[in-house]
Subunit: 316 residues, 6 copies
């Protein structure tokens, strides 16, 4: 059995104990670790509502409800992987370039130990730091991007680093293997038709929500998988991909998105790809519902990420 | 016309008056009564979030919005049944075995008067008491169980009575006619594949949400109806069967469930079965949304239960 | 380029500035104006929860998230229309007949200037005033009515003017061209089968939600469009048409409604009709979720209305 | 022992049962009744936030926490008085003059039976109806008025009946024995110095909060008691008398008010006066805190009113 | 410098990292430890609102705002004591007697290591287990009890173990040195004059809130200190001692209590007493305000407890 | 009569219309303007909870409840000053040094027009920009600083510009006439005794809350006034000066503060000083209570600032 296991809810109630992701042990020694869940509590990149710095704590709280077996993927996660909660990356709020350096520096020991990170945001600006670290270790990665926005804008108010620009920077910095990359979920009012075209011009395979509704999730996901091939992949999941009825606690919600069930199906459909890292971003606790449905959705998304790694171990 | 009728909203506004279910009279004399709505405000069985003891009051508040005619079933409920709000069963919080005895004792006069109860919970542990009373009156009943969990675990932390174990106990006590029984809605991470297999091993017809999405609600409900046959049936509806976007106010929510419309269709599809009792459980007000959508969903579920009885009277 | 344009979010952040609809200029001079967004903050007609007088402010707040281009209709709205926020109609709370006079008086200069109003309510009683003004300018209009209720009752507690009666009065006053009119979305418990039949008896084309689910949105909307013909149309959108999971902040919610995506598709499907006015009503902020999803839904509905006008200008 | 007694919390838990005030029996027969708690769920008089129609239900919910003995007044309330929850007065929302007639008509049987009413509002406009009924039975009464506003304005927007005008109308109608009457608590920004002078010009003894802080509560209350004399008194308690930190759920809050402890001391200090009626108004649930502190404050104010009557019976 | 120190907020932002109390290290080895903060997440003893099992997590979240120096007591806490977050005691929810055994068993190693525990509840029933452990180690202790209730009732509904009875049981079991013990804060409606007399009859020095307001906090606390003498003391602080405006998130709030400033002064005034343990109980997160003021109050109370120990070390 | 006046609430209800501060006209032409209320929606300086960028909109919403006459200062504000809502200063979120430049640039035309600004924040970092502008126009100003923190730290995590450092920078830049300056309200746990000493060492007159409680507000304010003399003064009011029970919606709350009444008395006591500018900062809407008491407190603080200017005009 893998070394690190969650506290057994049948032994100690799930409402008790220090809050770590899925009740995994909080460990900073990376020996015998396959996957590390890591907070990335930075939110200075937000252009509208802010407060995603509390996202990791909020997701950890809801993740107490997770159990070890994933019936949809038929995998008992902790039979195949040793997983930990590594705590949070160091970040200085308010100074994005300095924080990027801290995040990369904090992440490299994890990657260098051969551990797959699942990063909990934080606003979407953090993904640039995540991708910088990924590329340092693995070279350019395929980006699989679920989001209601493309986050490919060049700048906001003359500034290059915000939560609306990370993938433009990542392209410029050569961090993304764009021909293997896809974007799914774009919707809502935008600044112009170029917002949708932009991704395609850069080489992404792009599916708007209108297109997803027309083609069906199964078809779209099949194309995403085929596009990604066998090289290293990074999955970035913006919680605003999900409809605000299911995930209201986010900074720039867009109505008209998928249900949580549809969203989880999207993640599950990626089984077998060669993931080297993941993030779940834009969870903003102070706008979540009293029942904390956004945190619960994000915790389940992260659990599907854990499950993808376990599935690959089970089937290799 | 049946003896007891709700206060007419066209005469007195629905926001006024003492809160009873659907503005029915609060009556404890069971003469001329067909159906009694009864609170069962017990929540000591909860293993995570608690507070369902306030569920009955919360559902009653939202039920003021209910009107008498059910267009989906084409029945004007109170033309066929005399219905009351019987108040709450007596319960001592904190002591589950003592409370079970009180609940059974409180329920027997209702059953012995030939009245069909619709019980408002309370956490799911209460259904064991409800089934004990049912079996005392009717012998073993077919259980039709909508829920995201199977509630068939043997114990938690060495304890036999919790909201995760009622149906295991009910099977052991011979309260359920399992070959006529079905479970619908299981989903989310579980402890292992045995969580799903368990119900089948006991003899239930089981449909996970993944299976429901694949087979379609119409097909699944047809099989539930056929399984149930003509004998006495008890319908237990855990509000966490419904997706947390539609019913956030509950103790152990699982993402990926049906919409309220789908859930109501499930209840309606059971028309014609021989119901001797119902419960709606796990409504937890302090986690509900400001708009109280969970209470509204539960009130509508209970109204469909009322409608099922009325439909049977109309068509007998 | 049309005269009035929203403040550019790429120049000034969307969280800053005085709250007007979609960050349009607040202007009361109607020269060079095509469409005016106008608050109608009246809620004395409410029969259950009240407080829609704060609806316009709430929608304006959420509307800061709107951007100019509508990808579903392929139209950059402000390339084709000059739009403003006209502020609110004057209303005296508590005195519905006096307020009706004020609203009509306040609206006529807008209509007489040839400006198309998009009115933000307020409870649904306001639509009677809106229709009176419409008819004064255009004669009877086709009513396209999305709502979970028919709002055609004759009276409540002996009173003729409430949010449940506006269209009965409008019919009596000859404001509606009923043979071109449709009602979509009726659902939930009602007072009797006549609630559904009533609209048909008056001459409306009526689709209940059960019928919409059976026939499909595309089919239903096609019939609504055909019914409406080429004459002047008024679109009234009660936010409770949308399911309470997506729009909880309303006064008389009914479970079992469409998603926001389905609801927006309904509005978009009406492109090409000859709209002379619109309203979005029954947004009740104090019951909205912390994430303000109802306001966001309503803002998007109003944006689709703006888009319909722009689409017609683009394609004429 | 008096005939009607609350349900014993030591027998049945306080969270259970149909919600009546202080768990008193809901009775409409006035035989053997000394005090009747009555809802007056009308809120069409509100000029800012509305929704006080849900005030009575909200106060009843919180009142489950009340116990029978008042240590500050040393009286076991139900040893001296037979008290009931009479339900709500009939009211048509939206039509204040019609509602006034209904309220007076609904209240007269109570007064004519010699029962002292404690009325739970509703916005402050209802006090005019309450005073009309009082005067019909007792002639003009001394008004003891705790409030942050004087509610003596002549009109709003040309309308004579709102929650800002009830006592001006009552003076005009001769319902108040003004020379025995007092107003305590006026504060906040007002329209001009006349707002404060107005009450004095009409003959009230007026204490602003600034004056109360300077003179001390004990002194002020002594003067209120002396002013009131031995004739019949009516106590009207606007919950916005209390500071919004302690009572946030109200329609027109004013910062800088007394604590709940100070407010309850004010009511207790009136022991021995000849009260013929009471009301507690302006509780607005949808703006209350999650812990429902406003409802709890109002329930305690009403309990002090019950205690005043019991104290008088004990000491007569 | 003492071995264990909180994470420095000037190095790592306070919003980041795994949530432990005051950002202290989560350690279960008791070597070199002076004080251990320990969760006691049990709430089956609650008789009204429940959910205090989430209290420890809620207090930990708010405690991130605590800094090391206490200016009122002039002590830099971690210069004098080595403090840790020990995690939570094991508890089975729903079975109070079994849980008591677990809690005592979980606490003894801490006491036997000479470590002073600060326990975070949990409802007040847990204090019986805490006192059992204290007495096992230290013999009977002086109880200093801040609370709006006396918690000395004999039983509820025939049950001996609830949050209203712990100190009656503790007296019966000889755990309390009652002649050195005090109760401060009793207020609100009670069942009868015996509720107040009861504590005195048992030998406690009792001060009701009315008495505290009359005598002044300084005088009352002086008497509490003198009563306690030099023997071992246990301080139990029910958060409902504080007024609900300052601490709304609790199960049985009573209006009319002290401010947070007054409450903290009460704790500070006990400096120099010989404390062997502390608890802070009845924090109920789901009723707390969005700003989480109750958790913040409780975290500060616990910090004052830490400060009392540090003060004693500084001045010994 | 001064040129600009608020919309008369007796003509148009206060819940209607575009939200400007106190319903003043939104004007950007500075002719005939005495005082301009201006939003400063920047929050990148926050070190814990963030989101004050929505503070100005939140305060404007609550300010609709303000009326023109201030009874405590006996001044009808708009009889003496012409006041406007100038809108918001331009700010780029996420880049504090760039934003400072924008804020100063945006503020200079106001100051150069001889208009007194009342700035609504935004986190406290903005005050550095405000003081830079003040000093450019007036030279060093006396700072009167109400706050629970000193905001004089040198840096956080190596960064010089945060909401904890503005006045250290202002001292270094020579913007403050420190010998005329005072700080009032410091409390809560701090990093060490130097946190309190620091202000004194820099030359401020400092009063902690403990000292204020001991000396009395009247005495303290007298000393603040005397210290300030007749030169130009700037008043900066951090809403966390007020106790979190009264102002929960803020980023770094500290329990144990003054009531709103006490806080308003503090501002009023400064009448007659030579104020050249004001700010109210740290209002964080997403943590405010449902009744929005923090916004109401802040709106009243700003109204007292308006009143101070009007009082000086009246009495000059």
């Amino acid at each position: 059995m893998p070394r690190y296991q969650p506290t057994d809810a049948m032994m100690l109630p799930r409402f008790s104990g220090i809050r770590t992701f899925a009740r995994l042990p909080h460990v900073t020694d990376l020996t015998d670790v396959d996957v590390a869940v890591i907070g990335s509590p930075f939110d200075t990149g937000g252009t509208y509502r802010v407060g995603c710095r509390f996202g990791p704590a909020h997701i950890r709280e809801a993740s107490a409800l997770l159990r070890p077996y994933n019936p949809s993927l038929d995998v008992n996660v902790y039979d195949y992987i040793s997983a930990i909660d590594y705590g949070d990356l160091p970040v200085v709020p308010g100074f994005i370039e300095a924080a990027y350096d801290q995040m990369v520096e904090g992440l490299m020991p994890v990657l260098n130990a051969g551990v797959i990170p699942i990063l909990l945001g934080g606003d979407h600006s953090i993904s640039l730091a995540h991708l910088r670290a990924m590329a340092l270790r693995h070279g350019p990665v395929a980006l699989i991007h679920f989001d209601s926005h493309n986050d490919l804008w060049d700048q906001y108010w003359g500034q290059k680093y915000t939560h609306g620009t990370p993938f433009r920077r990542a392209l410029e910095e050569g961090l993304i293997d764009v021909k293997r990359s896809s974007e799914v979920g774009l919707r809502g009012s935008v600044y112009g038709p170029e917002d949708i075209q932009m991704g395609r011009d850069f080489g992404f395979q792009v599916f708007t929500m209108d297109e997803v509704r027309e083609l069906g999730f199964a078809h779209v996901l099949k194309m995403v998988r085929e596009q990604a091939g066998t090289g290293p992949c990074f999955l970035t999941f913006d919680i605003d991909f999900i409809d605000p009825a299911y995930a209201p606690g986010t900074g720039t919600p867009e109505v008209g998105g998928p249900t949580t069930w549809e969203a989880l199906q999207c993640v599950r459909a990626l089984k077998g790809l060669n993931f080297v890292g993941f993030d779940v971003v834009e969870v903003l606790p102070s706008y979540d519902s009293p029942g904390q449905v956004t945190a619960l959705a994000a915790a389940n998304v992260a659990f599907e990420m854990l499950s993808l790694v376990a599935w690959s171990r089970k089937h290799r």
